[in-house]
Amino acid sequence: MNTALVDLLQGRPVFVNIGVRAFGESLQAAGFEVVQVDWTPPAGGDPRLAALLEDLL
């Protein structure tokens, strides 16, 4: 049983929004708490380089 999801449905979820800013804004407008991440592509937008850097760190 996925108890975390059961609990989530009974409570008032808090969100982290990574990407399209409007998704977070619509949740905020509906009264939900949202932390907006100002996301930019890591490693200048090269996913392979980003994965290599992540492994190194």
Partner: protein, 482 residues
């Protein structure tokens, strides 16, 4: 009047935000037209078509293209950073990473909509931090999806997605959602617009949705084996507000079907399955569900006899469907398929021919305008109908077209006036059929949108399936007459 482009190298901003920026720019004095786009190949082609020439930019570069009075264009171009600054001026800078964000506030769910190539990394980091994930991003590999969902299951979490457009969780609408009341019906769905249409019809019938758990379109393929569907069913079974569970999906794989059947047998609550792609339709499933919870099925959910179309010229042979909602495109193909009609599509139902060149319609053609080839680096057609408008103009100029079928999706994040985006090009002489997915509570207003269409002579049907039935009947009549 001049045209000018300005480029910011290695600058990422999301396509929805860029569309909003472009609209603000276009509304400023002296600017006649403005675009703000990432330099993808598709966007470069759009800008070239608009007369901005061949641009030496890449997908990580941001291009602003301006047309207007020289002084106004130069002023905007000189002050791009101010135009592109997100958030409230003077506000504290937002965290740059998930880790930074979680230092300031504990959270439950990560909403991830970064470009597909980066999405799995962000989702993996969110799961590691103990968060459920709503993964809107598409272009995530099946291998990544499987590993993310296994990881989520081991941690007691759920990944809704990838390519998950809609969820309703504890009263919060994630992604594209409508203003629907809460009620006894719990949804688990691998189809975004399917969940929207279902929830809106339930609302318009007077009932409501407890929660809607999106799973992503591939969840019930055999490789993923319904990992998120099963987690969603578990949660809704334990949820005291849910009386009945509805599972909305395209036909599952064989192994996933067996797993799902086994789980449903042991479920302590009634479960309704709506398998699109065959005989099931969303409105039919809503009617069955309403009966289960003791709500009278309203008359608008009972399809009537299709009105006849008269006055077609002999060369008018084809139905062209331009869909913002992928599920509604799929459902319409199934309705045609059940009647033995062939439909070409860029997102073909099993057994239907794929459209070889998406830009060129053939016979009866149904286009999913939200498919990846149309939305790379650009907003979804539910947000910005510009691409669909251009395609509609072309279809309207094709003398072989007998009927055009359109869907309009209202709600959060959708265009402020989806009908208004095409209203001025709808011809009086051609038969246009449409459905509007939404409620009176949506900002666009269901009745307002329907009235605008009806005022333009469009035949508006209360459900997407009924609009497709009408077009099917026209197509059958055309076939008989040939």
């Amino acid at each position: 009047m001049i045209k000018k482009t300005a480029t910011l190298r290695n600058r990422y901003l999301d396509s929805v935000f860029l569309m909003q920026v472009a609209r603000r720019m276009a509304a400023s004095p002296g600017i006649h037209d403005a675009s703000a786009l990432l330099g993808t190949d598709a966007n470069k082609a759009v800008l070239a078509g608009m007369g901005y020439g061949a641009l030496d930019v890449g997908p990580n570069d941001l291009v602003v293209a301006l047309e207007g009075e020289p002084l106004a264009v130069e002023a905007v171009a000189a002050d791009l950073e101010a135009w592109l600054a997100p958030g409230v001026p003077g506000a504290a800078p937002a965290p740059r990473t998930l880790e930074e964000a979680l230092r300031s506030r504990a959270a439950d769910i990560a909403v991830v909509s970064v470009p597909g190539a980066h999405a799995a990394r962000e989702a993996r980091a969110a799961l590691a931090a103990g968060l459920h994930v709503f993964l809107f991003s598409s272009n995530v590999s099946l291998e990544d999806e499987v590993s993310l969902k296994l990881d989520a299951r081991d941690r007691g979490l759920i990944v809704m997605g990838p390519d998950c457009g809609t969820a309703y969780l504890a009263g919060a609408g994630l992604g594209f959602t409508n203003a629907v009341r809460r009620g006894p019906i719990g949804l688990v769905g691998s189809t975004g617009t399917g969940m929207q249409e279902f929830a809106c019809l339930v609302h318009r019938a007077g009932s409501g949705i407890s929660h809607g758990i999106g799973t992503g379109g591939r969840d019930l393929c055999d490789a993923v084996a319904g990992a998120s569907t099963l987690a969603g069913i578990d949660a809704l079974e334990a949820d005291p507000a849910t009386q009945i569970i509805v599972v909305l999906s395209k036909p599952p794989g064989a192994a996933a079907t067996a797993k799902l059947a086994e789980r449903l047998q042991s479920c302590t609550k009634p479960v309704m399955q709506c398998l699109l792609g065959g005989k099931d339709t969303l409105d039919g499933a809503v009617a069955r569900t309403l009966r289960e919870v003791g709500v009278e099925v309203p008359t608008f959910l009972r399809p009537g006899v299709s009105p006849r179309v008269t006055g077609l010229r002999p060369e008018q042979r084809h139905v062209r469907g331009l869909f913002a909602g992928g599920t509604l495109c799929y459902q319409a193909q199934a309705i045609f398929g059940q009647a033995g009609l062939t439909v070409h599509s860029n997102a073909p139902l099993h057994g239907m021919p794929a459209l070889e060149v998406p830009e060129q319609s053939v016979g009866h053609t149904f286009l999913d305008m939200g498919a990846e080839s149309f939305v790379e680096g650009r907003p979804h057609p539910m947000i910005d109908g510009a691409q669909r408008r251009r395609r509609l103009e072309r279809e309207l100029g094709d003398p072989s077209v007998a009927v055009v079928l359109l869907d309009f999706i209202l709600g959060t994040l959708s265009s402020a006036d989806p009908v208004g985006e095409v209203l001025d090009i709808l011809p009086k002489g051609l038969c246009v059929a449409a459905s509007v997915c939404g409620t009176e509570g949506d900002a666009q207003g269901l009745e307002r949108q329907v009235r605008a269409l009806e005022g333009a002579g469009v035949r508006v049907f209360p459900t997407a399936a009924q609009a497709a039935y009408f077009c099917r009947d026209v197509a059958l009549t055309l076939r008989e007459g040939s």
